[in-house]
Every structure is written in structure tokens, then in C-alpha cells.
Amino acid sequence: MTRAALLAAALGLVAGAARAQTPADLIGRGVRAYQNLDYDSAAAFLARALAKPDSALGDSDRVRGLVYLGASDLYRDKRDSAAAAFARLLRLDPRYHIDQLVFPPEITGLFQQVRLVTRAVAVVVPPAVELRGAGDALPISLYATTFHPVEVAVLKPDGSSLRTLYQGGVGDSLVVHWDGRAADGSPPDSGSYVLQVVSRGSDGRVVRTVSLPLEVARVRRDTLPWPAPVADSLLLPEQAPGRSGMRALGAGFATVLAIAVLPSLVASSASASANRFVVAGGISIAAILGFRGERRPQPIDANIAANRALQDTWQRQADSVHAVNVTRGREVRLRIRTGAAQVTEGP
């Protein structure tokens, strides 16, 4: 009776002091009490600290408190409470392994027993990834407490499945890749999606669900700039001013005159054939057309060819840029940002 009163008084003092302390301080006091073999005090300090809201205690302190609470409870002959503390620890951090140098075999043995029956998966995903093409994927690392079946899927905003990535067992760890495509192979629209990892029990029921929000954004590659058009200063004049046309008229006139006088010059003894004026008429018409043609601006073939070469070069560059831009327009890049995981226990 006296001992109980003393204990109660001590706990009251401790509690009074603890009220003024932070949860982390309580964890530290509980650990020291455990190390002093004062398991009751340790359990009291640790239970009080762990009862605080999640926001008041960091995950590392919470994990530390749980492992010492489980060990303290086991030494207080509260095996079920110890197992519950270890199970809670494993659900909080499925990757946790108890330090066999710190805790004796009976503690580590119970921890391993609890690990075998606690089904949980830690999901590790990069906070941001850009998928640029074939071969790129979002790596999803799974760390399981024990072997159990899991389902990994990406869900649409309405909760329906976009793509099931994995269905099967996970022992220690597994890396699943998502190539950023839906089940039909098409890239998803920009939006909010959910990466869901479901752990199932031996009876097939859902025992734990980890959900990570995925913000998916389609990113288009920048297009190449259009090549600058050929500057006017580089183009050569394609036409020369028209000539006077007198050359054609002169040549035509001289030929017509020759036809008129040739019979008298060459064959003076014969009567001249009037048919020759058909030829003279044809030459006259051709000379007039030549006169008009020469007065028109004359194309400069060399300059036309040089300008065409410049234009063709520009056109080839433009076609190349167009082809690249069309290809880039068809390419869909995905930028994926991952949010904080949310864990739901039970179905």
C-alpha cells in the first residue's frame, strides 16, 4: 500500500512536470526511464507523448517512442499491448527494423512476430518527374513489412482506374514503373490523379491503402523558330530594262530589202518571182513582233537561277523546321508531381 502510494505520488509529480514538457521531451524521459529499468514510468511517459496529435510529434520521435513503449510493455508483462505498439510502429514505418544491439532477443523476437502478421507497404516516389518519351517512367518503390498481395494502380479523378500497374505479392521490396500512359497506351490529360497501393490480407480483404496524389501536366516541347525569309537585299534583279527594239527592226528591214532586190542583183535577166514577198511578209511580221518583244523587260536567267537557289535553300530549311515542329507537336511529355501519402487502414 505504501509502495503504491509512493508510485502514485511519483507519477503525479511526473505528470505535473510532464504537462509543461513537449512530446519530444516526454519521449526522451520515457527512454531514459526504460534504460533505468523503470518500465512503468517509461510506459507512462511514452503513452502520454504518443497520445498527442500527429502534428505535435515527428515521425522519427513517434517511431522511437513506439519501439520503447512496446519494449516497456513487454517487460511489464503486457504482451498484447507490446504487440499493438509494434504493429502501430510498423504501419507507421513499414521499413523499420529493430536494433538487435539495443534490444534483447525477447523484444526483437516479438517485433519479428508482429512484423509477420502486420501487412503494410511503404511507398516511395520521386517528388517530381518529367517523362520525355519512350523509356522514361515514374519509379514507384514499395517496401513491405512481410510478404502479402498488393495492387498498384493509377486512378482517375473520378476514382476509376486509369491503369493497373501491378497485381501480385511483395516480399521485401519491389519497384513498379509507370510510363505515363493509360491502359490503352494513350497519354492522360492534364489533371489530378491518385497512385493507390492496396495491401490485402490472407482472406483477400483490403487491410491498408496508401494513396498518393499525382498532379499530371502535359508539356509540349518548344518549337523551332521559323527561318528568316530571304532578305530582299540578297535577291538579284530578275529583269533588265527593255531594249530599243531597233536591232530586230533593222535586221528585219535589211532582210526584206535584200529579198526585194536580190533578183535584180543575182538574176537580172529573169523576171522576179512575186512569191518572194510571202517570205518578206513573214520576216516583216517577225521583225515587228521582235521589236515589241525586245522592248519588254528582259529576264536575267542567271539572276533568276541564283534567286531560285536562295529560295530553294530557304524552302528546304523551312520544310525541315516544319517537319521537326510537327514531330515535336506530336510528342507528349508528362510532368508528374507527387503529393504526400495518405494511409487508410482497413477496407
Binding site: G250, L262, S273
Partner: protein
């Protein structure tokens, strides 16, 4: 004979370097000619006319080219009682162009008038000067040609007294096309010795040609 041999040697000398070269251009003209023949003699004369077929083949071996021409037709009397006769005219010329607009030609020219009473044959060795004048962009050209017989013979007494002639015309060629048309007027006169008789032939020919490299 010596007078005939000299031009032949010149022709062969001109053709020898050309033979070592590959053809650069080959062209063929064919067409029809309206021919008018008139002979004048102290005792009278005769006039005949008719149509003839014209063929002209050219192979260019720079800087020399070879021109072969052939004309055959039939002439009928325009006045009087002239005997109808066949006209056969052929020539082979070696052509040299010292400048693009001028061509100098030399070669044999044979002309025959075949009638029921006999055949009159002229054999001429000619020298020709041919000038081209462009009318439009080098595709339409007017041309003129003068020639003179360097040596001549005929199988009619008292023999040949000389010959000369001229030709003028128009060549129309479409740009970038291997086809052309040619309209030409030609006149020549051949004289027997002592002006015993003169014979002149005038013709207007329309031909179409095709050529390529």
C-alpha cells in the same frame, strides 16, 4: 581539173580536224518548195514552175559543220511549149563559223534538169557567206546568204560561164524546243559561156526541222 581539186583539198583539210570530234548537234529539215525556172537565150526563152520536196541535214562538229541538202521536183511549162522536166539539186558544204553570226561554206553543188530529150547537168564548186541576225532573243532569226561558183561545168555546149546566187529567210524556233520552222527565198543564175544562155531558178521553201545535241 586543177581548178576543181583545190577546193576539194580545202574541204578535206577543214573536215579532218572535225572528224576527230564527236557530233555536238544534229538537225534535219524537210519541207516543200515552190520553184520557178526561167531560161533566157538570144533566140528566146522558156518559163517553167512546179513544186519540189526539200531535205536538209546538218551535223555540227565544232567549229566545223557539214550541211547536206537535196531537192527534187518537177517543173512544167508556164508559157510556150517548154518541155517538162525533173529538177534534182544536191549539195554538200563544209561550214565554218568564225563568229557566231557569220558562217563560211564551201563545197560541191550539183543540179540536173532531166527531160525526155536528155539531161542537163551542172557541177559547181561554191563558196558561200551566210549571216544571221536575231529578231527575238536568238530564237527567231533572219538570215541572208550569198554565193558564187568558184568552179563550174555543164554538159551543154559551149560550157559553163559561171554561176551565183543568194538566199534570205526566217527561222522561227520556240524557246527550249528542238523544233523549228524555216521560210526561205532563194534565187540563182547559171550562165553558159559567152552568155549563150542564162538559167535562173527562184524558189520559196517552207521547211520544218528537228534537232538536238
Amino acid at each position: 581539173m586543177t581548178r576543181l581539186a583545190a577546193p576539194l583539198v580545202l574541204l578535206l583539210l577543214a573536215a579532218r580536224p572535225a572528224a576527230a570530234q564527236l557530233p555536238r548537234y544534229v538537225g534535219v529539215d524537210v519541207g516543200v518548195s515552190s520553184a520557178s525556172f526561167q531560161s533566157t537565150a538570144p533566140g528566146g526563152g522558156e518559163k517553167l514552175s512546179g513544186f519540189a520536196g526539200v531535205g536538209h541535214w546538218r551535223i555540227v562538229l565544232r567549229p566545223v559543220s557539214i550541211d547536206v541538202a537535196y531537192t527534187q521536183g518537177r517543173l512544167s511549162a508556164d508559157t510556150g511549149s517548154a518541155v517538162p522536166r525533173a529538177l534534182v539539186d544536191g549539195s554538200v558544204f563544209a561550214t565554218y563559223r568564225p563568229v557566231p553570226w557569220l558562217a563560211l561554206k564551201a563545197g560541191p553543188h550539183v543540179r540536173a534538169f532531166a527531160a525526155t530529150g536528155g539531161t542537163e547537168r551542172w557541177m559547181l564548186w561554191e563558196g558561200r557567206a551566210h549571216a544571221d541576225a536575231p529578231l527575238l532573243d536568238g530564237e527567231w532569226q533572219a538570215y541572208g546568204e550569198l554565193w558564187v561558183a568558184l568552179a563550174s561545168s555543164v554538159n551543154v555546149t559551149p560550157g559553163s560561164g559561171g554561176a551565183r546566187g543568194a538566199e534570205a529567210g526566217l527561222t522561227l524556233k520556240l524557246p527550249q524546243s528542238p523544233v523549228w520552222a524555216r521560210l526561205a527565198y532563194a534565187v540563182d543564175q547559171m550562165r553558159l559561156r559567152n552568155d549563150a544562155r542564162t538559167e535562173s531558178l527562184q524558189s520559196v521553201a517552207l521547211t520544218f526541222g528537228f534537232g538536238g545535241r
